[in-house]
Structure formats: structure tokens, C-alpha cells
């Protein structure tokens, strides 16, 4: 009797719940599990977006599955047309960008895309009342207007060579999003776009499910169903991948290595712009001294960090740009040179003290280095850095803390920072190094101030000639070697494991943020099932 009562109570509750839930999903199919069919894929990632509305920042760097931008990047990070017919026409010395829209593109609700949708998207993002965290990335825009139904013209405040790379920003339909408050409207969780996939369900904290958009202007995707499962814990993600619950996942290098030689699975390693660096605040008398900065730059053993901390899944960082970036300045690679580091310190008057720590004018060569607590990779970098610095006679006191504690101290204390943007060197470098942004929020955390670097950044930003830009960024990277405001340590490779059921998978060179939009699934709409 007891069991019968339990069962009937449970069935009643379940029935009620199911009716409620069934009303919310309308997609056909209803497969029984993650399954081994090649037209569905289940991917495990560590975190989910706060919102799916591009107006609040979702997909701003491209690769959104629900939306398209005017342009998109290919596997080699080159810009190519998406919602625009072609790359923009640049006029007025780099101050106007004109895009012509592709014909016949429709949103997934059937309404056609028009120039007004593009204008609405940009104007809403730029509106001060919209809580977009990345609005400053579009600061260059003075005006955006529609010219007829299929032309959009951007007028910039100054010539900005990198602007086209910002127009990967996803375009939203004015007829849906325009009816709501962009900060809280239902568009945040029920987006409508032109993209290759349509969101079918989003259970926050658990998963997002997408189905292929059969009317996609780029052709219906072969992978019909895409599920992004949110599994915060690395070990749980690996376990669920092993059990077959997930087809693929983003994993730290040591866990990814356990899948290396398995049949039916492939491991992908994406190189990245994701650097780890130590900020050397100019406001601190020790880290502000160019001799100390140069000595630290010479004393660190980058190769050892890649081997020991990253298990080989990374590359030494000689500056903010990774070695394989076309904008990387050849010749700035440098080996560890402890002898040179000591000579630099000797010349500058930093003499070894009794405890082995150098001192100058009664000041010990000692500073504090913070790393965000809980981040194992950064902690290991910080400890290795401290041990390398000690060999040159510089004391680095490593402390861990939350960002709430670190932020007010960034002016005087070093931080083990991690950043990296793709798309254009201007995106990552300007905010990292320009003196006008010193201490502005998390921009230029080291308060770096070097007139030659400022000049190079301005030239790189405003010049339209790729040759001039390349020369400017080369100058900048060489100047960084002479006056390092940061000690760049490593660029971290991002590791992914994926079931081997599709052909022609690639990875892009990835930014600091990864997992959801980057990874071998960055272009899942183009995958071809095997056989």
C-alpha cells in the first residue's frame, strides 16, 4: 500500500510537470539520448552566457549560432561577408564604412532582414540606457544610418582601420527586440535571429538546445541538433564525456590527455591569444624601474612554464601577440638570460644584499604579486615567476585573493593577469597599453605609459595602409622589449575532445574567452557527417 501511494503521488506530480514542460518545447524528433547519430551533437562547456541578446553583448566577437553579423571570420581569422554582400566600402579617408546587405535573408520567424534592423541593433547597443558591457568597443561610431532597404552607412569619429572587424556583431530583428526593454525583455532568453540554428530550449544552468534552421541563407546545416550542456566542474565534464552522455567537451590539458589515444574520439588543440602575464605597475618604485622590468623579462624561463605548468599545451609569450599571429614581430623571441638580467641590475645600481635580495638606495627589490584565488594555472605561473625572479635577486611575494581585494591594489601591486582578443591587434593592444586608459577599470592595469608605444598604437589604429600598420605594431613590440610594462609568460592552448563522427573540423586561433563560441564547434553549421 505504501509503494502504491508513493507511486500515485509521484505520477500525479510528474504528469503535472510534464504537461507544463511539453508546452514549452515544440521541436520534432525527441531522440532518446545523446546518441551516436552524426546529425546531432552534445557538447559540454564550463559556463553559459548571461543572456542570449546581442544587445547586451552575446556573440559580440562572432560565432553566435543564433545570429549573424554583417561580417564573419573564417578559420584563419580573415573577415568575409555574412549578412553583408561583400566587405565594406571604406570612404572619406577611413571614416565611412558602407555595407550592402545580402538579398533574401530572413529571420527565423520569417520576417525579412532590412537595413533598419542593422541600424536598430547598433543604436541600441550604443544607447547609454542599454546595459551592454562592451559598448566601448564601438566608441569609434559617430553615426549609423540606413541608406535605402539594403545599405547601411557607418560614420566614424576618427579613421579606424580595425572597425570592419567589429562588425561581426550579431544583428537582431527590430520587430521583435524593438518592442521590449533590451535589459530585461524576453528577447534575452528567447532570441530570434538569422543564424544557422534556432534556440529550442534553454534550461539555465543545465543546457541549451538548438535545432538547425532549415531556411538558413547559407544552406541548411547537416548537424540537425546541437546541445550545449553546462557542466562547471572539469572532472564531471570528463566523466560525462567518458560515459557517452557528451559527444565533446572543453577540458584542461591534463584531462584531455587521458582521451588522447582513444578510438572514436579526437583531441583538438587550438592555439590562442590567451596570454598570462604579470602586470608591473608604474606606480610602484620597484616594478616601475625599467631595469627591474627588463631583468624580470630576461630572468623568466618561459619554456619551462609551458612544459611544466601547461603540460606542453601552450607557447612562450614574448609579447601580447602569439607567435603564429601575422602581426607578431619576428625577432622579438628571446631566450632566458640570467647573466644579462644580473648585468642590467648591476648597471642600474641594484646591488645584492645579505639575504641575496638586491637593494638600491636602501630599497629592497621586492614586490607583491596577486593572483585570483582558485585559478590553479595562474597560481602556478605566479609561483614559477617568483622562483625565477629570486634567482636574479628580486623578491616576489605571491598572494592569492578575490578580484574585490585585488582591484583596489592594482595600482601598486603586480597581478597575474590573463587576456587576449582576436580579430585585430588594435582590440587587445590599445586597451592593454595606451597611457590614456591607464588604470581605467581593468584597462591598462599596469598603468603603462610609454610615448613611443602610444604613438604606435595611434598609428596602428588610424592608418589605412596595412604596411604602415604592420610597421607600427612591429615598433610597438620592440619597444615592449626595451621597456616591458608586463612580463608576458605564456599563451595557453585550449584543449577539446570530440567524438570522431564528422569531417573537416578545424579550430580558430582563440581569444581569452572560449568554450561556448570557440572550439572545434565554432562552425558546426558547416560540418559534414562522415560516410
Amino acid at each position: 500500500m505504501t509503494t502504491r501511494r508513493i507511486r500515485s503521488a509521484a505520477t500525479a506530480a510528474v504528469a503535472a510537470a510534464v504537461t507544463g514542460a511539453a508546452a514549452a518545447c515544440s521541436a520534432p524528433g525527441g531522440g532518446t539520448d545523446g546518441g551516436a547519430s552524426a546529425d546531432s551533437v552534445v557538447i559540454g562547456v564550463a559556463s553559459e552566457p548571461d543572456t542570449l541578446s546581442p544587445l547586451l553583448g552575446y556573440g559580440k566577437d562572432g560565432n553566435s549560432k543564433i545570429f549573424d553579423g554583417l561580417l564573419v571570420r573564417d578559420a584563419g581569422q580573415k573577415l568575409k561577408p555574412a549578412l553583408a554582400k561583400a566587405l565594406p566600402e571604406v570612404g572619406d579617408g577611413g571614416r565611412t564604412y558602407t555595407y550592402t546587405l545580402r538579398d533574401g535573408v530572413r529571420f527565423s520567424d520569417g520576417e525579412p532582414l532590412t537595413a533598419d534592423d542593422v541600424v536598430f541593433t547598433y543604436r541600441t547597443v550604443l544607447d547609454d540606457r542599454t546595459n551592454n558591457t562592451a559598448k566601448s568597443e564601438l566608441d569609434a561610431i559617430e553615426e549609423v544610418r540606413a541608406d535605402g532597404d539594403d545599405k547601411v552607412v557607418f560614420t566614424l569619429k576618427y579613421p579606424y582601420a580595425a572597425f570592419a572587424a567589429r562588425t561581426v556583431l550579431p544583428i537582431v530583428p527590430e520587430h521583435v527586440a524593438g518592442e521590449q526593454d533590451p535589459n530585461t525583455g524576453s528577447f534575452n532568453t528567447k532570441p530570434v535571429g538569422t543564424g544557422p540554428y534556432v534556440l529550442t530550449d534553454w534550461r539555465k544552468g543545465e543546457k541549451l538546445t538548438f535545432k538547425a534552421n532549415p531556411d538558413y541563407w547559407g544552406g541548411a546545416p547537416k548537424v540537425k541538433k546541437l546541445t550545449m550542456a553546462i557542466v562547471a566542474d572539469d572532472d564531471v565534464r570528463a566523466t560525462r564525456l567518458r560515459s557517452g552522455d557528451l559527444d565533446g567537451a572543453v577540458l584542461p590539458p591534463n584531462l584531455a590527455a587521458t582521451f588522447e589515444n582513444e578510438d572514436g574520439r579526437k583531441t583538438y588543440r587550438a592555439t590562442s591569444y590567451d596570454f598570462r602575464a604579470v602586470t608591473l605597475p608604474t606606480g610602484n618604485p620597484v616594478t616601475g624601474d625599467t631595469a627591474i622590468r627588463r631583468a624580470l623579462d630576461l630572468a623568466v624561463d618561459r619554456e619551462a612554464m609551458v612544459d611544466k605548468i601547461l603540460d606542453g599545451a601552450g607557447r612562450p609569450a614574448y609579447g601580447p601577440l602569439p607567435l603564429d599571429d601575422p602581426w607578431f614581430a619576428r625577432g622579438t623571441e628571446r631566450d632566458r638570460d640570467l647573466g644579462e638580467a644580473e648585468r642590467v641590475l648591476d648597471d642600474a645600481g641594484w646591488k645584492p644584499g645579505q639575504d641575496g635580495i638586491r637593494a638600491k638606495d636602501g630599497r629592497r627589490a621586492s614586490f607583491t604579486l596577486f593572483h585570483p584565488s582558485g585559478d590553479k594555472v595562474r597560481q602556478d605561473h605566479a609561483l614559477a615567476y617568483a622562483s625565477d625572479a629570486k634567482k636574479a635577486g628580486i623578491e616576489v611575494k605571491v598572494e592569492s585573493a578575490t578580484w574585490e581585494v585585488i582591484e583596489p591594489r592594482m595600482k601598486h601591486d603586480a597581478v597575474l593577469a590573463g587576456f587576449g582578443s582576436t580579430g585585430d591587434p588594435d582590440f587587445g593592444l590599445y586597451t592593454l597599453l595606451h597611457s590614456s586608459l591607464a588604470g581605467d577599470g581593468f584597462n591598462n592595469m599596469a598603468r603603462y605609459d610609454d610615448p613611443a608605444v602610444d604613438e604606435a598604437l595611434d598609428t596602428g589604429r588610424r592608418s589605412q595602409d596595412p604596411e604602415d600598420r604592420k610597421a607600427a605594431y612591429d615598433d610597438l613590440q620592440r619597444e615592449l622589449v626595451k621597456n616591458p610594462g608586463y612580463t608576458f609568460l605564456t599563451h595557453i592552448d585550449h584543449m577539446y575532445v570530440l567524438a570522431d563522427r564528422w569531417d573537416g573540423l578545424t579550430t580558430q586561433t582563440e581569444p581569452h574567452e572560449h568554450g561556448f563560441a570557440s572550439g572545434p564547434w565554432w562552425n558546426v553549421e558547416d560540418w559534414q557527417p562522415k560516410k
Partner: protein, 322 residues
């Protein structure tokens, strides 16, 4: 009875006022920065102007008393406000999640009461017998075990070692629809764990109640009249032995809610737990206040329910005097 309910409902109003005011006050002095929480990882790349603009748009610098009053007046009008951290209306956040939390709690509660009664009666039948000793020591052990620990143990055993039940989620990851079968298999572990964590209280109370009743005159009289052991146990002893359990039902509600929060987190159950934690760390006033109100109301309702049951089952208690 109507009078009791009405009076309790009326006295709930000041309680809720004080509790929500307290939530706003505590959240206001918490070290978390709502702007950083709102921006998430984007905050680590944001400039000062962006952060300042967000601060102003979110209105987080206004005095908490003012924000509380604003929330209260609009909540009284049926508008629970907008959750900043979820980017959607509070009513929607709760609506999407409450069903699953309620289902989890209800199933666990029913399981705990039924199982607790059975075990309690079993133990009370012969005090000091091996069955009694086994049940009692099990109950004490479970009472001391933290819920999340039991939950992790259950995942390890049933999901990883035996691989008979799924480790988390509402359905299999690849499955799109919530079907009854899927739901039942995914509900088994979290509901089971939550039930087990509540079990010792009911077991021990029933054991005590039934044990005492067995020693009382009416039962001895019944036995003397030659009634069957079954009738004595279930008809006489259990009936009066269950009375203390009824009060327990009400007082276990808060424990059930906090237990559910932990269980939901461990099993990634899409209930209101994750929302509660996020609301707290993000200082999301409207969401936090609504969830606290909900929890408080559940506790008050639990107490009322216990009193009503007591009044209905125990002839010595008059509802009109409560």
C-alpha cells in the same frame, strides 16, 4: 478553523515585512559588488565608464530602504520586478523553476514520512531488539551526515560505480523533451537523497511516539482484550504515536528547503537553488527578496499545516483555542 487560518495569514504580514527588510539590509552590507556580478567575466575587461554607467542604470547606489519600499509597493501590486542577474522578470525566473523544486521537495517529503513511519514502527515494536538497534543507529548516523555528502556519495555509488541512475540534470543531456520516464529516473537520486536526509527525524519521532503509546494503559487494555498484535500496533499505538510527528512535519519545512538547495546544486537540478545562490552573490535585490518571501511563506504554511493536522486528529486540541 477558518479563523485560525485567517489569523495566521494576518500575522504573516509583519513577519514577511521584517524578513524582506532584513534581506535588503543584509544584502546592502554584503561585500559583493552587484555591478561586477552583473557584468560577469566581461567586468574584467571593462573600462571605468562602462562600469559607472552600469552602476547608474542598475541603480545600485540608492539606499536599501528606498529600494525595499519600491520593491514592496510594486510587489503588492503584483509586479515582482526584474532580475538583473537573470536578465528576465522575477516572476518568470520563479515560474520556470518552482515546479521542479516543488516536485523534488514533495516527492522527498512523502518518501521521508512514509519510510520514517515504517522504520519507526518497526523499531518501536520491540525496544532493544536487533531491528530497533539497527534502525536507531542508522537514524543517528544519517542525522549527523551532511546532505551534500550523502548526495556526492550517492552519485559516486549509483551513477559512477553501478551506472544505474543518471548523475544529474532533469533529462539526459541529448534529449529534448521532458518525458515521464526520463524525469523519474533523473528524479530518483536527488529525491532519494533529500528523503534520506529527512528520514532520521521522522523515524526517531515515530519510534518514540509509538514506543510510549505501547506502554500506555489503552494499549495494555487492548492487548488484554486479546486483540491481534496488528490491530494493537496500527490501530492504537500508531494513531497516538503519530501525533508528535504532525508537529514535526511543519518544523521540518525549513530544513527541507535548505536541504533542497544543496541537493539541487549537486545534481544540477534546474530548480530555484541555483537562482537563489546567484541572486545572493549578485546582490540581485528583487529576485532575492521574492525567493526569501517564498521560503518564509513556505515555513509559515508548514507550521499552520502542522497545527491544523494536530487539531483535526487530536481531540484534546481545540483549533478555536490556538
Amino acid at each position: 478553523m477558518t479563523r485560525l487560518v485567517a489569523r495566521r495569514a494576518l500575522s504573516a504580514v509583519p513577519v514577511l515585512l521584517v524578513v524582506t527588510f532584513g534581506v535588503f539590509a543584509i544584502a546592502a552590507v554584503s561585500p559583493f559588488d552587484p555591478v561586477k556580478a552583473y557584468a560577469g567575466t566581461a567586468a574584467l575587461g571593462a573600462d571605468r565608464e562602462t562600469l559607472d554607467r552600469l552602476r547608474e542604470n542598475l541603480g545600485v547606489d540608492r539606499p536599501f530602504a528606498e529600494r525595499w519600499w519600491e520593491w514592496l509597493t510594486s510587489a503588492a501590486g503584483g509586479d515582482l520586478g526584474q532580475s538583473s542577474v537573470m536578465r528576465q522578470p522575477v516572476a518568470e525566473v520563479i515560474g520556470e523553476r518552482l515546479v521542479w523544486s516543488a516536485l523534488l521537495c514533495a516527492v522527498a517529503f512523502v518518501l521521508a514520512v512514509l519510510l520514517g513511519t515504517v522504520l519507526g514502527v518497526l523499531a518501536a515494536r520491540r525496544p532493544g531488539s536487533p531491528a530497533d538497534r539497527a534502525v536507531t543507529s542508522l537514524a543517528y548516523a544519517l542525522e549527523a551526515a551532511p546532505v551534500f555528502w550523502i548526495a556526492l556519495l550517492a552519485v559516486w555509488l549509483f551513477a559512477l560505480k553501478l551506472d544505474v541512475l543518471p548523475a544529474g540534470g532533469l533529462t539526459d543531456t541529448g534529449s529534448e523533451h521532458v518525458t515521464a520516464g526520463q524525469l523519474l529516473s533523473h528524479l530518483a537520486l536527488p529525491a532519494g537523497v533529500l528523503a534520506v536526509s529527512q528520514l532520521p527525524w521522522f523515524t526517531l519521532y515515530v519510534r518514540q511516539g509509538v514506543g510510549d503509546a505501547l506502554a500506555e494503559d489503552p494499549v495494555r487494555g487492548a492487548r488484554a482484550r486479546g486483540l491481534s498484535e496488528r490491530t494493537v500496533l496500527l490501530g492504537h499505538a500508531l494513531r497516538s504515536g503519530l501525533l508528535p510527528v504532525l508537529t514535526l512535519i511543519g518544523s521540518r519545512v525549513p530544513e527541507l528547503i535548505t536541504g533542497a538547495l544543496l541537493v539541487e546544486s549537486v545534481f544540477s537540478w534546474p530548480g530555484i537553488a541555483a537562482a537563489t545562490v546567484e541572486a545572493a552573490t549578485a546582490v540581485d535585490f528583487p529576485l532575492l527578496a521574492a525567493l526569501t518571501t517564498l521560503a518564509t511563506a513556505a515555513v509559515l504554511a508548514g507550521n499552520l499545516l502542522a497545527d491544523l493536522l494536530y487539531g483535526l486528529t487530536d481531540p484534546r486540541v481545540k483549533l478555536s483555542e490556538m
